[in-house]
Symmetry: C2
Subunit: 212 residues, 2 copies
């Protein structure tokens, strides 16, 4: 099952091809953007502070369901949406858009959701997409990944320290590198259609990207 979570970032940041999902969740203003894009809105989640009263009424009327959270809460609207998704559809693939660009505090909160223990086991099922970037997350292990056709660059982003990271079959390689603080190894490139990596602990993000 493929589930789409749509944050409040501008639809200009959205990737192409958003029609083949099984369940659409709008996060606050993302709900309105889904309606405006004539896409389904299965669930609207948020405190809806970012909408006018008439916009909120429109979202509630058009969405198949909604969860309204209090404005003053510990979780962000996006955290609430991911929490709902993992509780109701624990086997789904969670594709998240509208979470990048704009406010950097929001983006970092969204990126770092995967570090929270409650989301840890869902990490392999989460990805963040926008026009220029795809971000997939990995738990310790050995992986072969595939080049996305539209992307040029490959980056290995250590969200945590790691005892050992090895990169193979790419322009720049590493052999059992110890990572002592978060670091983004940017501007790597595929040499063929696949690349491999192995790491022992922590959480790794892999970003495939292209120039604007």
């Amino acid at each position: 099952m493929k589930l789409l979570i749509v944050g409040g970032g501008s639809p200009k940041t959205w990737p192409d091809k958003l029609t083949d999902f099984d369940f659409y969740i709008g996060v606050d203003r993302g709900s309105l953007y889904l309606l405006e894009a004539q896409l389904p809105l299965d669930l609207a989640v948020g405190d809806f502070d970012s909408l006018t009263e008439s916009e909120r009424q429109r979202v509630f009327a058009k969405s198949r369901a909604h969860v309204q959270a209090p404005a003053e809460k510990d979780d962000t609207d996006t955290q609430l949406a991911l929490l709902w998704a993992t509780q109701h559809y624990p086997e789904a693939q969670y594709t998240c858009i509208g979470l990048t660009g704009g406010r950097i505090d929001h983006f970092l909160a969204n990126l770092w959701m995967v570090l929270e223990p409650r989301f840890a086991k869902f990490i392999p099922q989460i990805c963040l997409l926008d026009q220029q970037n795809s971000i997939h997350f990995y738990l310790p292990g050995e992986y072969t990944i595939y080049r996305e056709k539209s992307k040029k660059y490959l980056a290995y982003v250590c969200l945590t320290p790691m005892q050992s990271l090895s990169l193979y079959d790419s322009k720049y390689t590493l052999d059992q590198q110890r990572i002592t603080y978060p670091i983004a190894y940017a501007s790597n490139e595929f040499l063929t259609n696949t690349a491999r990596f192995v790491f022992s602990d922590g959480i790794l993000a892999v970003i495939q990207s292209k120039d604007a």
Copy 2:
């Protein structure tokens, strides 16, 4: 002394008022953007892979000095620029623009430069700016910060785990909170023109932001 470091992000992301710096460093394509904005270009740094040959020649002809790095190197162009700046002007304030938006791998590499031991002692002198966000960095201690007139939101971003973080005089407060993984406490707000915080270890970023 105020030094401006200009990365290759679109000039559309630049904040206003860029005329009152003492020294202007262009990073790769950022050098060309400085010339196009009719701002000074005291130093151009990079491998200049992002420029055509004629653009590169124009940058070299118009810049007061340049440092051309090999394309295959361990540091990013931005790291080289900050390294040069800290070596030649160790007392300066380093304002960095053109580092946000676009490629997320680049942004994270730029954000996390402050975690590198070679830059640690310069952390209080570094800030990242764009149209919507200001990011300042802090070493352990007790601080009073001031609200920026154009900004609405306040976020405390723990780039590292911390033994203890306390937030005072803001909409949401914390009392000696232990931080076990990086987290962005987004959407806080000033109650007056100042806010205070205290932390014991690690590195904290404070982001003031506004909606687009």
